[in-house]
C-alpha cells in the first residue's frame, strides 16, 4: 500500500503544473474558446513537446506511461488549469484504440499522435444519450472497401482533427455490443462537419458520414471492437474524473481566497461561521473526490466487473461532488461568481459539463447497482 507518486510521475506533475501555470491565463482561455480552432494550438504543441501525450501511452506502444495513475496525474493538472485541449479524444480514445486494436500497421500513426497529430473520436450518436453500445451508423463492405453512413454527435475537437476513429455497425442491432467495428476515416469529403462552441470551452461537431474508405481502414476485428471501446471509455472517464478533481481544487482555491479577501458587514466574509462550515463540508467532499479518482485510477486495468464498478462509483461521486462544488462556490462568491469575466465562471461551467459526459451521476448509480448485483 503506497499513495506516493513515483518519482517520474511526480516530475511530470511538477513540470506540467509549472508549464500550465506559466502559459494559461483567463484571457488566453477566452481567446481559445472563441477561436475557430476551439483550443490553443500553442498549448497543444507545448504539451506534445513536454511528452504529455506520450504519458498516456504504455511503453510498448511508444509512450512512457499509460497506467491509470499517469492519466490521473496529467488530467488533474489539465483540470487545475481549466484548459480544453484534445488530449482525451486523441490520446486516450482514438489514439488508445488505434494502439490497442491497430497493431503494427498503426504504430506510425500512434507515434504521430504522441507527436501532436489530432484524431477525433466519432462514436456517440444523437439518440444514444449515455449508452456506449448505442451505434446506428452502418459500415458495409463493398468492392472499394467500406461504405460508412450515419450521424455522429458531439464529436469534440472535430474541426481540428485530421482524421477520425469512427465506430460503425457491421452487424447486430442498434443497442447490441456485438457487431461494432472501428474505422479510421480521414477528414474531408464525405465527412460533413457542423461545428459549434461548447458550454465550458472548446468546440464539438455533429458529423454526418457518407464516405467510402479502403478495406484497411478497419481497425481491429470486424464486429468485435466493443470491449476495447469500453476499456478506452473507462480510461477516458478516469481522465475526466481527474480533470474534475483539478477543477475542484482550483475552484476551492479561488473560493477560499475570496472568503479571505472579500469584506461585508465590516469583516471578511470568511469570518462568518456559517460559511466556514460549508466550506469545510466542501473540502470534505473534494477529499472524497480525490479518493474516488485514486480508486478508479488504480482499477482501470482490472477485470471488467471490477473496473466498470469503479468507473460507475467514481463517476457517480464526482457528479455529486461536482454539483455541490459548483453551486456552493457560486453561492459563496455571490454575484461576481456568476460573471463570465471572473475566473470562476469558466471553471464552474466546465465542472458542470463533466456530468454530461460519459454518463451522469444517476446513470452511473443505476449501472453500479447492476454491476454489483452481477
Amino acid at each position: 500500500m503506497n499513495f506516493q507518486l513515483t518519482e517520474e510521475r511526480q516530475m511530470l506533475q511538477d513540470s506540467l503544473r509549472r508549464y500550465l501555470a506559466d502559459s494559461v491565463s483567463p484571457e488566453m482561455l477566452a481567446q481559445a474558446t472563441t477561436s475557430a480552432a476551439g483550443h490553443s494550438e500553442t498549448l497543444w504543441k507545448g504539451l506534445a513537446e513536454m511528452g504529455v501525450i506520450g504519458a498516456l501511452f504504455p511503453e510498448d506502444k511508444g509512450g512512457f506511461g499509460g497506467a491509470g495513475f499517469d492519466l490521473s496525474v496529467v488530467f488533474e493538472e489539465v483540470g487545475r488549469a481549466g484548459v480544453f485541449e484534445p488530449l482525451a479524444e486523441t490520446g486516450i480514445l482514438a489514439g488508445g484504440l488505434l494502439a490497442e486494436l491497430g497493431g503494427e500497421a498503426q504504430a506510425d500513426r500512434v507515434e504521430a499522435i504522441i507527436g501532436g497529430a489530432i484524431i477525433g473520436f466519432a462514436h456517440s450518436e444523437p439518440g444514444a444519450r449515455y449508452d456506449l453500445e448505442h451505434v446506428e451508423t452502418k459500415a458495409k463492405k463493398d468492392s472499394d472497401g467500406w461504405r460508412i453512413t450515419g450521424r455522429k454527435s458531439l464529436v469534440t475537437h472535430a474541426g481540428v482533427a485530421e482524421a477520425f476513429l469512427v465506430t460503425a455497425r457491421t452487424g447486430g442491432e442498434t443497442t447490441e455490443t456485438d457487431g461494432i467495428s472501428a474505422f479510421l476515416v480521414p477528414a474531408g469529403e464525405g465527412v460533413d462537419i457542423r461545428d459549434y462552441p461548447l458550454n465550458g470551452g472548446g468546440r464539438a461537431a455533429e458529423v454526418t458520414l457518407d464516405v467510402t474508405v479502403p478495406a484497411d481502414a478497419l481497425i481491429g476485428p470486424e464486429g468485435g471492437a466493443y470491449a476495447a471501446i469500453e476499456r478506452a471509455a473507462a480510461r477516458a472517464t478516469c481522465a475526466l474524473c481527474a480533470e474534475a478533481l483539478g477543477l475542484m481544487e482550483t475552484i476551492r482555491g479561488l473560493t477560499v481566497d475570496y472568503l479571505k479577501n472579500r469584506k461585508q458587514f465590516g469583516q471578511p466574509i470568511g469570518k462568518f461561521q456559517a460559511l466556514q462550515h460549508r466550506m469545510a463540508d466542501m473540502l470534505v467532499e473534494i477529499e472524497q473526490a480525490r479518493s474516488a479518482v485514486i480508486n478508479l485510477a488504480g482499477h482501470v486495468d482490472a477485470d471488467r466487473t471490477t473496473r466498470e464498478r469503479h468507473v460507475s462509483a467514481t463517476k457517480n461521486l464526482i457528479g455529486r461532488a461536482g454539483r455541490l462544488v459548483v453551486e456552493e462556490s457560486i453561492q459563496m462568491h455571490g454575484g461576481i461568481g456568476m460573471t463570465e469575466e471572473y475566473a470562476l465562471g469558466h471553471l464552474v461551467k466546465r465542472l458542470t459539463m463533466v456530468d454530461h459526459r460519459f454518463g451522469d451521476a444517476d446513470h452511473h448509480l443505476e449501472r453500479f447497482i447492476r454491476l454489483s448485483a452481477a
Partner: protein, 398 residues
C-alpha cells in the same frame, strides 16, 4: 379553513384566462415557453397590451391608475400569466419605483412619473447594488453633493438588470457621511441620457448580458429629482425591498418549470425508455413536486394574511429560501434531463428569426442557461444567507 377560491375569485381567474387566450400574442407565448431571447420591443408590446386593459399596474391602487387588486387577485393574475407563458412584467418602474413614489414622492413626481411608467414612456432600472457590497446595501459609496439646484453624482452601480434598455435609473446615493451608514442615504432619480452616465454590460455564465454596470461621473441631477427627504433614503429603500418581496416564492415560475421538466422528461429517452419512467429520475421529480405543493400552500397562507391586512414578516424569508431551492432544483433536473445536449452553446438559435438551428433538441440550451442563470435566485434580493439571518433574528430571536 378553505383551500379553494371563492366564486368571485374563480370568476376573476376565468376573466384573466379569457384575456390571456385572447390578447397574449402566440409569438410571445412561444418565445417564453421555448426559452427564446426576449427583446425590449417584446416587453413593451406586452406592457402596452396590459395597460390597454388597465392591468399593468398590478400592485397599484386604482387612484394611480392601477388595478386595485387584493393580494389574492394579484396571486391569481401572477399564476395565470406565468402558466400562459406571458413575458414577465418588468418590475423596476412598476413594482419598485411606483410604490415608492406613491408613498414618499411629491405630488409633482407622482403626476409626472406614474403615468409615464404605465404608458411605457420611461423604462426604469435600479441603482442599488455597488461593487463589493452585495447584500450589504447600507454601505452605499456613490456620492451626491449638492451644488446649487443640482446634485453632482459620482460612483458606480452594478447588477443593474436590463439597464441597457433604460431611460432612467433610481439610485441610492450617499448625501452624508455622518451617523450610521444607513443614515446618510438619499433616493435619487437620474436620467440615463445625462452626461457622465455610462452603461457597461456584464456577461453572465449563461452567456447573456442582462445585467450591467452603471458608471456615474460628475452627473448633474436637478434637486427636484430627490424623492422624499435628503438622508432618509434608507427608509424608502427598505420599503421598496418589501414590495420586491411579493411573489418572492416564485410559485408560478416553479410550476411552469416543473411542467417544462415533465415534458422534456417525457421526450428524452434513457436506456430506451422515456426518462420520466426512470425510477431515480421520477423520484427526484416527485420529491420536488411534493415540496412545491407544500410551498404553494405556504405562499397562499402568506397571501391570505396579506389580503387580510397583515404585514408580511419573516415568512417572506422562508418563502425566499424554499422558493429558490425548489426552482433551482427544477433547473438542475431539467439540465440533467437534456443529457449530453447540455453541452452545445449555440446562442444564435435563441434569437427570433435566426436561421441557426439548435444542436439537439431546442429545449436543451435554454435548460442549461436557466440552470446557470438561476443560481442568482439564491444570491439576489437578499441572499439566502441573509434570509437565514433574518429568520434567526426575528422569528427565533437567537
Amino acid at each position: 379553513m378553505d383551500l379553494t377560491y371563492t366564486d368571485e375569485q374563480k370568476a376573476f381567474r376565468d376573466e384573466v384566462r379569457a384575456f390571456l387566450d385572447d390578447k397574449l400574442p402566440k409569438r410571445q407565448r412561444d418565445k417564453v415557453a421555448g426559452g427564446k431571447r426576449l427583446t425590449k420591443a417584446d416587453y413593451e408590446e406586452w406592457h402596452a397590451i396590459l395597460n390597454e386593459r388597465g392591468w399593468l399596474g398590478v400592485t397599484w391602487p386604482a387612484e394611480f391608475g392601477g388595478t386595485g387588486w387584493d393580494a389574492v387577485q394579484r396571486h391569481i393574475f401572477e399564476e395565470e400569466t406565468t402558466r400562459a407563458h406571458a413575458p414577465r412584467i418588468v418590475p423596476f418602474g412598476l413594482n419598485m419605483l411606483g410604490p415608492v413614489l406613491m408613498k414618499f414622492g411629491s405630488k409633482a413626481q407622482q403626476d409626472h412619473y406614474l403615468p409615464r411608467i404605465l404608458n411605457g414612456d420611461d423604462w426604469w432600472c435600479q441603482g442599488y447594488s455597488e461593487p463589493g457590497a452585495g447584500s450589504d446595501l447600507a454601505s452605499v459609496k456613490t456620492t451626491a453633493v449638492r451644488e446649487g439646484d443640482h446634485y453632482i453624482v459620482n460612483g458606480q452601480k452594478t447588477w443593474t438588470t436590463l439597464g441597457q434598455y433604460a431611460d432612467k435609473i433610481f439610485c441610492l446615493v450617499r448625501t452624508s457621511k455622518e451617523g450610521k451608514p444607513q443614515q446618510g442615504i438619499s433616493f435619487l432619480l437620474i436620467d440615463m441620457d445625462s452626461p457622465g452616465v455610462e452603461v457597461r454590460p456584464i456577461v453572465l455564465i449563461d452567456g447573456e448580458a442582462e445585467v450591467n454596470e452603471v458608471w456615474l461621473s460628475d452627473v448633474k441631477v436637478p434637486v427636484e429629482n430627490l424623492v422624499g427627504e435628503e438622508n432618509k433614503g434608507w427608509t424608502y429603500a427598505k420599503y421598496l425591498l418589501t414590495h420586491e418581496r411579493t411573489n418572492i416564492a416564485g410559485v408560478g415560475f416553479a410550476q411552469a418549470g416543473l411542467e417544462n421538466l415533465k415534458r422534456i422528461a417525457g421526450l428524452e429517452k434513457a436506456g430506451g425508455r422515456p426518462l420520466i419512467e426512470n425510477p431515480f429520475f421520477a423520484a427526484k421529480m416527485a420529491q420536488v413536486e411534493i415540496d412545491l405543493m407544500a410551498m404553494a400552500t405556504t405562499n397562499l397562507r402568506t397571501i391570505a394574511a396579506a389580503a387580510a391586512g397583515q404585514a408580511p414578516g419573516a415568512e417572506s424569508s422562508m418563502l425566499k429560501i424554499k422558493g429558490t431551492v425548489i426552482r433551482q432544483e427544477i433547473n438542475a433536473l431539467t439540465r440533467q434531463a437534456v443529457g449530453p445536449f447540455a453541452m452545445p452553446f449555440v446562442s444564435e438559435a435563441l434569437d427570433e428569426g435566426s436561421n441557426v438551428e439548435p444542436v439537439g433538441p431546442d429545449y436543451a440550451l435554454p435548460a442549461t442557461q436557466a440552470y446557470f442563470n438561476n443560481r442568482k435566485l439564491s444570491i439576489y434580493g437578499g441572499s439566502n444567507e441573509v434570509q437565514r439571518q433574518i429568520i434567526s433574528k426575528t422569528i427565533l430571536e437567537l
